[in-house]
Symmetry: none
Subunit: 296 residues, 2 copies
């Protein structure tokens, strides 16, 4: 929002002085302003993961009479926004270069959004479901993604480690990438991610996995990708982008969906695992609760 929003600014500026629960409530309001006006306080509190009373306390903390002041403010913001949209588009006066930058950015982002939206085609959804089934059945999941695909492979692996110990990330220094497969067998599955140009090493390892009897699931970019012939299930994602580079956002989206599907197979187990991970990381002081903030 470009318009001055005094309440929003007040919440941000007082954020540091809030207790954890107040912060959680405040954060949710900052990030879902329209919901404040559209749902009841109790429902908002539920969605924000706090007690109803916390919302009242937040209002008082902000110096307001009660929660209704917060709601009234956000309702007013919605009433004003009716014509604010056009106004906002106009008021952006930019330099020529920035204009060009904004245009390129917009084109790229819209392209990415469209590509991810296109993954909702029935054919893709079927393959996603089949892949999730296969991954759920596997004893062990080996995740392989080299070079540009490393980010996707690692992210999948990272999320899955929050759920349990089922995945092995095939990566390592000194040419030890494939060592994880030493004890892999027919009960295991390789999740291989590779896009054009295909890293030779990825294909070799996928081939090796196949020879060892592993199931192979591929995330790749084309029906004629070499991985398609090697894989039991291949999920295709476009990598075209409006810039010089290939995009991996759709591939990342696919891997996130796979994680979501796997977690959804047993929601309770997933929740329990996540809580366990939370506690572990908490005891390690991995995350910041108190914030080293110095400047506004």
């Amino acid at each position: 929002m470009l318009q001055a929003d005094p309440l929003r600014e007040r919440i941000v500026s007082l954020f540091d002085g809030m207790s954890p629960q107040l912060r959680q409530a405040a954060r949710y309001i900052i990030e879902h302003p329209q919901e404040v006006a559209l749902v009841s306080m109790r429902e908002l509190a539920r969605n924000a993961g706090v007690q109803p009373s916390t919302m009242t306390r937040l209002a008082k903390f902000l110096g307001l009479a009660g929660y209704d002041d917060i709601r009234a403010h956000h309702a007013e913001a919605i009433r004003f926004r009716v014509d604010g949209f056009a106004a906002r588009a106009m008021q952006t006066e930019e330099s020529e270069e920035d204009m060009a930058a904004a245009q390129l950015s917009r084109r790229m982002l819209q392209g990415l959004a469209a590509q991810i939206a296109r993954l909702t085609e029935p054919a893709s959804l079927e393959r996603l479901a089949a892949a999730a089934d296969r991954l759920a059945q596997a004893r062990r999941i080996f995740v392989l993604g080299l070079r540009s695909c490393h980010s996707v492979a690692w992210h999948f692996h990272y999320v899955m480690t929050l759920l349990g110990e089922k995945t092995t990330h095939l990566d390592g220094p000194a040419d030890t990438v494939g060592d994880g497969l030493i004890r892999a067998g027919a009960e295991d599955v390789l999740l291989a991610i590779s896009i054009n140009p295909y890293a030779l090493h990825s294909l070799e390892l996928a081939q090796l996995a196949r020879e060892k009897g592993l199931g192979v699931i591929a995330i790749t970019d084309s029906e004629v990708s070499p991985l398609v012939g090697l894989a039991d299930i291949a999920i295709l994602c476009s990598t075209e982008s409006q810039s010089f580079f290939h995009t991996l956002a759709p591939a990342l989206a696919i891997s996130e969906v796979l994680c979501g599907l796997l977690a959804n197979k047993d929601r309770n187990a997933a929740l329990a695992a996540l809580q366990r991970a939370d506690r572990h990381l908490l005891s390690l002081n991995t995350y910041a609760t108190a914030i080293p903030r110095r400047r506004i």
Copy 2:
């Protein structure tokens, strides 16, 4: 409202068959659609000059279960208008225990697409352009993303290495993550990526960078993220998803856009650099186009 609105059309088409009081209520709703979602039924009735019961009767007359259906519809319309169908799937019930895989996948993907599309708001585009400018000016770019954000940081770094030697990826074993900053100074910039929950180490390093005089550019998830206070420019991306986990797809999209903008600053240099990288990797036999024959 430009979109087709079935309820509105239904009210109009049944208008002639209504009693005077029903008409008065219906007319007010047609002419003040946003008020329906923003005030209580009794207040709406008062403003419309009818009895509260008339509103309920109108709902029944339209074939709905009750007034709440009318309100829910108008709230949805506001969500639609404000977010461009973004947070829609987001808010809907997630209580269905056994959601079909296809349904969950579709929801997740649509949500991701919408979140990326939302990054095209003018405010975001401005920040992207400013960030690209700052990164282009920098002597050196240090890229920091720990834990879940590693994928984004690494991807940015990887793409940038194709363009040149300007970036340093802050990562390493044995607690050497921050060592890259040893010789960093005021002419350099830190690109820090962190989302809630914020890795303590990321914040500490960002703080250190700031103290050493580096510019700080952040990719983070909220106006109240601790990185916002530390950063010269903060680019915000939503991380909410329909599943248990946060999504990094929008953050990845942002980093890809930054790469695109940087490459676009000097297209010829970028092309030349990419060709050089291509030749190098070709001579190393990094890539394949067909299924490889395994070396023994």
